[in-house]
Symmetry: C2
Subunit: 388 residues, 2 copies
């Protein structure tokens, strides 16, 4: 059995989510735009999913939720909407954003990048100064996919509101790991992706504050209140709703968070004890409970994290060098570089991300011990090779 | 049991499609961008789906297939790509396009609209003349969703190639109803949607000829060879592949086509016999075997197809007044109006669309008879009401 320590890349849909989807997959006539009973039933099922997702983010009304096909679409929709509503103005992002945010910003025109400190914390002063200059859109990641660092975005949201600046929060990694509240965040847009929290692949959502501009990326039928054309993915939306409900409960459960934190901390400690010179990236006091990003001391070995990854992968231990969306690229993580990590250390870093108990990708204490042993043996093997 | 006579709006995923998807829904680590074994297995499954969809459209290479989330996204991607590659030039469409095509064209700038004849056939002379003036993109529907009329697009494709004009074919309704061949069509883009041919909702595809311009609608990770960012919908792609294989077989089976045609013809005959003055819209010699669009003579009743639809819907008989994407609008079908049907008759028309045997939405001869009886009784009831 493989050990799934790469749960920030994707998670398996939960049994409850699949069970909710199943009747809708093979159901005839389930086009929510159709006026017959099969169509109306589909529309009702979709309404429940919308309410569940709205509840997850603390939205006042289900109508603020636009269903999309993935996190990247949600991000692209927010940027597209802001660029059309506020043409010619720059976009403000941070140096540790997901590639979807970075690429969307570049496509929108001028980009102002706010740095982060060595522990991944956003430079709040620089951000507030940039907001005061009135960009079209501020887009920031709430829970970093690579380090698990959680940003304090409420002051950013408040400043954006005061200045009339649109604010997009990339919350793709957040569900199940922290409680979400769009009112507290003060955001106009907030993006989600179901497969990151044990919902199905192929469905995401964008929260859009009532009154915030929306220009559809895809045009055609009047679905999603003319914010996103295309026959709705009813099974996916139903599955996302069920997963959203569970993610909200997990985020609010100190027990669930402690349990995954204990496994993560054990993994971290066993590796730090055995692999001299290993460092933990990101502020340990502001990290999601499931994630650790470790920089290994491979100086002088002529090798980097790819060697560790290869040895672990061969034993069925699934980790990654950073964002799955960049996994096929050889370059060190831009997120770690932006935190001031030197290039060789960044290239020698691995992300471990765990799932909650009760999920198909869960790990036990024994799995953690087995995984840590494998990491330590791989590290020793590389060190031994270098000594020859 | 409802009678599903609205299968052009959506179909249920087949058992084979669902069975193929199931293992992927609950599978951990299945992010095809991840370099570990779970990721590589997901990439392999996706490769098979891509080959199956490529085979469905007669594409020379699986790399020509870009997976999307639906037909509207496929259309939007083709238009977005063409508009960026050939800025400032008009788009040519016909007067009987799906709303996605119409809205995408309007968004791209100047639109040249080619008329159709009274039976829905494209005015080939007008189309060729418009192509000679060098638009950026020609976009035409292959098999009309409302009437089932199949257009002869090979001469259009040849003219576009000769003139260096990009050519998009909206083939969303075609799979399972006719054989597709991108080489014969001579198109640069061809759009599909899985839920129209017993694949899952939430997944579509755009064929892009090797060398044709593509500018992603969604940016971010390098998925789909940088043509469409976002974690791939692996279960959806696997399910679409299986459905594509089946659709190709059905399209090529004279037996399957004859069987559905016999049911459609029976339904049509039983209604025409009992409802005086009913007309069949669209060229009967160039129609998909599963579709009939009937204009009822409701003159003097003060009622239109909405009344028929309501009476049928109450008995579990699912039909529609036209495109599901316009079903919530009260106006008569723009497609029928464009064919020269007068507004009252257009507003008194219903589309009946059937599924093949062996699918969850199939109908039997008895179902057809029951449906026709219900239609005839509803028609008589409306006529009787008007006589009072």
């Amino acid at each position: 059995m493989p050990l799934h320590f790469d749960c920030n890349a994707t998670t398996a849909a939960s049994e409850a989510s699949i069970e909710a989807m199943l009747p809708w997959l093979g159901r005839p006539g389930a086009n929510p735009s159709a006026t017959h009973e099969s169509g109306r039933e589909a529309a009702r099922a979709m309404r429940i999913g919308r309410e569940q997702v709205a509840a997850l983010v603390g939205a006042r009304s289900p109508s603020t939720i636009v269903f999309t096909s993935c996190g990247s679409e949600s991000t692209s929709l927010a940027f597209h909407s802001a660029a059309l509503a506020r043409p010619g103005l720059p976009t403000m992002i941070s140096t540790v954003e997901h590639s979807a945010t970075r690429k969307c910003a570049e496509r929108s025109g001028e980009v102002v990048e706010i740095p982060v400190g060595p522990e991944g914390a956003l430079d709040q002063g620089a951000a507030l100064a940039a907001i005061a200059r009135g960009p079209a859109l501020v887009s920031l990641i709430l829970l970093n996919n690579e380090t698990g660092v959680i940003s304090d975005l409420a002051p950013i949201g408040a400043a954006c509101r005061e200045r009339g600046v649109l604010f997009h929060v990339d919350a793709v990694q957040a569900p199940g790991k922290m409680t979400l509240d769009v009112e507290e965040l003060g955001c106009d847009y907030l993006g989600l992706s179901a497969h990151k929290f044990h919902g199905p692949r192929g469905v995401g959502a964008l929260y859009v504050r009532d009154g915030a501009p929306v220009s559809p990326l895809m045009v055609g039928g009047p679905q999603e209140a003319e914010r996103r054309a295309g026959t709705e993915n009813v099974p996916g939306i139903v599955g996302m709703g069920v997963a959203a409900e569970r993610a909200g409960a997990l985020a609010g459960s100190e027990e669930a968070q402690s349990e995954v934190r204990a496994r993560r901390d054990l993994l971290e400690r066993l590796i730090l004890d055995q692999c001299p010179g290993t460092v933990v990236h990101g502020d340990p006091t502001r990290r999601a409970a499931n994630t650790t990003n470790l920089g290994f001391n491979l100086t002088g070995t002529g090798m980097d994290a790819a060697a560790l990854l290869g040895l672990l992968s061969a034993q069925g231990i699934e980790v990654s060098t950073g964002s799955a969306c960049n996994a096929t690229q050889a370059a060190p993580s831009p997120v770690l570089l932006a935190m001031g990590v030197n290039a060789p250390l960044a290239a020698s870093s691995l992300r471990f991300s765990l799932a909650h108990q009760g999920t198909p990708d869960r790990s036990t204490i024994e799995d953690i011990e087995r995984g840590a042993t494998a990491v330590n043996e791989a590290y020793s093997a590389i060190a031994a090779l270098a000594d020859h």
